[in-house]
């Protein structure tokens, strides 16, 4: 569809056709369609997800008109799920939109198998015990889950999936894979074919930095027992040597070589992050291993054998000052090496698939290719079950947050967001919902907080009076601007989870709408 391509042009430039195809295949279920949920879905519908199902049992009240753009005067008294769903449908007719008029907390109990049909569940404004039940259901059914809640000037977002693996993490800044500290024979012989001492000044200033650095590094190694510069002084001397070879002040290629000289000094081999991944127990394959871990196992073999301690070459080079001819040749050399590494990797993947009893062609070529290109950037994200976090949060982290000025308000809100659910379970409404009885609610909430902190192992600790009163002032209000913020964050994380691109957030995000010192808490 040419029109869809134009319509989605600005996002295709971010996640490409593959990311878009993943979105269009996804079916999303929203629980509760107040402003937080509605705004989350709005952003996803605009982006073109395959289908949405809105679950909400409530009717639209006048108060909802003040915080939810998806309902209007004519909606009052009607099913909120239906009204929100029909507005969302207006935004993008390529999306299949339906609604179910039922209360999510009831559905979780009466029909747990309902959730297994979806790619991902967005659960908004749920209370603690429903969260715990839903989390168990989704983990069991292998359905991705994300929780979001807005509450006055605070709120949280929490992803909950057993494991999320990313090949295309697309980091902003990442070192180019140039192998200047460990050039393969093909690169070395190409570099040697170019004479750094060429007399023609035009030719001299168009030798690419890669060639300069490879040749100078081997010159250095020849006079230093085969070693590359490693001490501070040696690095300085190497740079001086580079400078001494310039024949004019304006040689951009030499300036670039100087700036990139750290590539020559960088340690060989793989990063500690990648080491953790290949050492992960999931890389010991069994018949149920995912494609990702099969490829990691192949990568581990590659590094130990053909790679000589390195991953498959990425194969692309950044722009650099050069003649067109040198640059294009250099591109071909990098590309050819990457292709050769890929073929080895592919063979290893096919063998491992066979070994684990799977069809050896079951991982497509382009996936293996993408894996090779991104081998240095792989990411594995795992999330604790909500129940575990709630019952036994990391006490050392919790204590650290409580005493750290930058975290104290955020962790305070984390405790309070849990305390209000206990409060509601005990007193049948959230603190400060009604205008009368504020003082009583404040002291009750304070007691609840002390009790909760005790249960978590922080005996005798409490939160500031100001923060507790503030939480009561909020009175469980769902403010539109806060809901739009939380909904925006939530939809962003959903996109990352579905496209399997970029890196979703870890931990629990706590929104601090007072001074914007929001934080991620790892409990």
């Amino acid at each position: 569809m040419a029109e869809a391509k134009v319509k989605y042009d600005r996002q295709l430039r971010i996640w490409g056709e593959q990311g878009q195809a993943a979105l269009e295949k996804a079916s999303i279920c929203l629980l509760n369609c107040g402003p937080t949920g509605s705004e989350t879905l709005k952003n996803l519908v605009l982006g073109g997800v395959g289908s949405i199902t809105v679950v909400d049992g409530s009717k639209v009240e006048v108060g909802d008109l003040g915080n939810n753009f998806m309902v209007d005067e004519s909606s009052v008294g009607r099913s909120k799920a239906k009204c929100v769903c029909s507005f969302l449908q207006e935004l993008n007719d390529a999306v299949k939109a339906k609604f179910i008029e039922e209360y999510p907390q009831a559905l979780i109990v009466t029909n747990p198998s309902f959730f297994s049909q979806f790619t991902l569940i967005v659960a908004t404004q749920l209370e603690e015990d429903s969260m715990i039940k839903l989390d168990r259901i989704c983990r069991e059914a292998n359905v991705m889950l994300i929780f979001a809640r807005s509450y006055g000037l605070t709120g949280f977002v929490r992803v909950s999936v057993k494991e999320h693996t990313v090949i295309e993490s697309k980091p902003d800044h990442f070192l180019d894979d140039l192998r200047l500290n460990n050039p393969w024979p093909g690169l070395k012989s190409f570099a040697e074919s170019i004479d750094l001492t060429v007399a023609d000044p035009v030719a001299h200033k168009h030798i690419p930095k890669v060639v300069i650095l490879v040749n100078m590094a081997s010159e250095w190694a020849n006079s230093h027992d085969g070693k590359l510069p490693s001490t501070r002084q040696e690095k300085q001397e190497f740079k001086e040597l580079l400078k001494s070879r310039m024949i004019a002040m304006d040689e951009e290629n030499y300036k670039e070589a100087l700036e990139s000289s750290f590539n020559v000094f960088a340690p060989r081999g793989i990063s500690s992050d990648l080491q953790l991944i290949i050492d992960d127990s999931a890389a010991e394959l069994h018949c149920g291993s995912s494609d990702f871990w099969v490829m990691v196992a192949a990568l581990k073999e590659f590094i130990a054998n053909e790679g000589g301690g390195e991953v498959p070459l990425e194969g692309s080079i950044p722009d650099m000052t050069s003649s067109t001819e040198h640059y294009v040749n250099l591109q071909k050399i990098y590309h050819a090496k990457a292709e050769a590494d890929f073929l080895v990797m592919e063979q290893r993947v096919r063998n491992l698939l066979k070994k684990t009893g799977r069809d050896s062609a079951s991982i497509p070529k382009h996936t293996i290719k993408s894996f090779c290109r991104n081998a240095r950037k792989l990411k594995v994200c795992r999330y604790r079950p909500i129940e575990e976090e709630f019952n036994s949060p990391s006490l050392t982290e919790l204590q650290k947050y409580l005493t750290d000025e930058d975290y104290s308000v955020a962790v305070g809100f984390y405790i309070l967001l849990r305390a209000v659910d206990r409060f509601a379970a005990n007193y049948n409404s959230f603190p400060g919902v009604f205008d009368g009885g504020m003082d009583e609610d404040i002291s009750r909430l304070k007691m609840t907080v002390v009790g909760l902190l005790n249960d978590l192992g922080c005996n005798g600790q409490t939160l500031t009076e100001d923060l507790i009163s503030e939480m009561c002032r909020f009175g469980a209000a769902e403010l539109h601007a806060v809901a739009a913020f939380i909904g925006g964050i939530t939809s962003q994380e959903v996109i990352k989870l579905i496209t399997k691109q970029f890196v979703p957030m870890l931990g629990t995000f706590i929104f601090n709408g007072i001074d914007h010192k929001s934080q991620l808490l790892f409990l």
Partner: protein
């Protein structure tokens, strides 16, 4: 007053009607605050694009009733993945008008006045009428212009402290892909856009010799076709990035050049991206940034919580990074400072003064229009105004300013700072030599 629980301000009332300890210094909770916000607060949204659409919705649902929106663009198909107030059948219509209409249709009681024009087309007074200006823009030039306008209203006391009632707060948002920022600018107190201009490094351009002699990347081939070949072939005809035939031509030329040099990667999509300098944009990032801006606008107007101090960044590429940074003002800032001091003889005519602005090393301002206390002394455009004010050119500025010893004038024109011409607005402190303070005609007449 309707019962809070059954009114449409059910949720907002919790914040506006109840006292708290973590609030702004000016906070006076109560129904009057809510009603004043609704009846008297006027907010201008600059831009009706990705951020603007969200901002109008967010503000309309945050207690504001009187909104204006200004945007010169028309709706395009590529807007529809995020500018949620627009539909396919709206393509070609003015953004400001459609956005205003859609929000008014859904949020009862909100009044949004659309302005389908360039920001430079409005007089200074237009901007001064708003309590807060919220910016949802994607260009540095437009931000810089509005910033200068808002800062031009700022007046200083004799001890160089800003006069509070002249501070025009701005809230500014910006996004690119999974990244964005939201900031609060209180001119004279927190850094203005110009104080921290280094946050927006200029876009790097390819050297022409690379394009002409040593192309290496697909982008080099595209820019060769766009910047060099086009002019060679179409003598005199300007390239129009919005004309699909022009774009096709550039694409085909770029492909030819890439083939000639053996360079891979030229596509039509990349051609558009390079030529139009397209910034990738998605709904979720715009939603996050706009919501932060709307929340700060509500806080500035009501004092119901502390204000962001003063720059918030969001980055969702790898995990989630949100950070508030407190930047500091540049005390010598040309835009939000007390203004460049210009000392003049009382005999200097307005024409001479305008010529001086072009030479002044800190201004380099050509084609200047001059206003004093809201009165047009000389206007370059439109022709009617030019004709009406032309006779002032030969009069001494001292006389035109009411024979005061010193005062502020506003000048608008083209600045040529950093070898780049841009519309700009400057505030100047004019002092006349040999005229003692305090014995002016104005004072004699009892004026202030």
């Amino acid at each position: 007053m309707a019962d809070s629980a059954t009114s449409r301000s059910r949720d907002l009332d919790k914040l506006l009607l109840r006292p708290g300890n973590l609030v702004g210094p000016s906070f006076e909770p109560g129904p009057e605050l809510r009603d004043d916000l609704r009846d008297y607060a006027r907010v201008l949204v600059v831009g009706a694009g990705g951020l603007g659409c969200e901002l109008l919705k967010d503000l309309a649902l945050s207690g504001f009733k009187n909104l204006d929106v200004i945007d010169m663009d028309r709706i395009e198909v590529t807007n529809l993945n995020r500018q949620f107030l627009f539909r396919l059948e709206d393509v070609g219509k003015p953004k400001a008008e459609v956005a205003a209409k859609r929000v008014m249709e859904r949020v009862n009681g909100v009044n949004i006045v659309p302005h389908f024009c360039r920001i430079e087309d409005k007089e200074l007074d237009f901007y001064n009428d708003f309590n807060i200006i919220v910016l949802g823009l994607d260009s540095i030039e437009a931000r810089s212009y509005i910033n200068a306008v808002a800062c031009s209203f700022l007046e200083y006391n004799v001890d160089d402290t800003p006069r509070e009632e002249t501070i025009k707060p701005m809230v500014d948002g910006g996004t690119e892909g999974f990244k964005g920022h939201a900031r609060v600018i209180l001119p004279g107190i927190t850094p203005c856009f110009e104080c921290t201009i280094w946050l927006f490094p200029p876009q790097v351009k390819f050297p022409l010799c690379t394009l002409a002699e040593t192309p290496r990347t697909a982008a080099h081939c595209i820019e060769y076709a766009h910047l060099i070949k086009w002019d060679e072939v179409h003598s005199g005809k300007a390239f129009d990035p919005d004309d699909p035939e022009h774009m096709q031509w550039v694409y085909k030329e770029a492909v030819k050049r890439a083939e000639l040099f053996g360079i891979p990667g030229v596509t039509y999509s990349l051609t558009q991206g390079v030529v139009k300098n397209i910034i990738p944009a998605i709904a979720s990032t715009n939603a996050i940034i706009s919501a932060a801006c709307a929340l700060e606008t509500l806080k500035i107007a009501s004092g119901c919580s502390k204000t962001l101090s003063n720059y918030l960044t969001y980055n969702g590429v790898e995990g989630l990074h949100i950070k508030a940074t407190e930047f500091v003002r540049n005390k010598d800032c040309l835009v939000c400072g007390p203004g460049v001091l210009i000392e003049l003889d009382t005999a200097v005519t307005l024409r001479k003064f305008i010529d001086m602005l072009e030479e002044h090393p800190r201004l380099l301002l050509s084609k200047a229009s001059v206003t004093h206390r809201g009165k047009n002394l000389y206007m370059q455009a439109p022709p009617v105004l030019e004709e009406m004010t032309r006779s002032n050119l030969s009069l001494p500025l001292f006389d035109l300013m009411g024979k005061v010893s010193r005062d502020v004038v506003h000048v608008a024109g083209l600045s040529s700072m950093d070898n780049k011409k841009a519309s700009s607005m400057r505030k100047l402190r004019v002092a006349f030599k040999g005229v003692p303070d305090g014995v002016t005609d104005m004072d004699m007449a009892g004026g202030a």
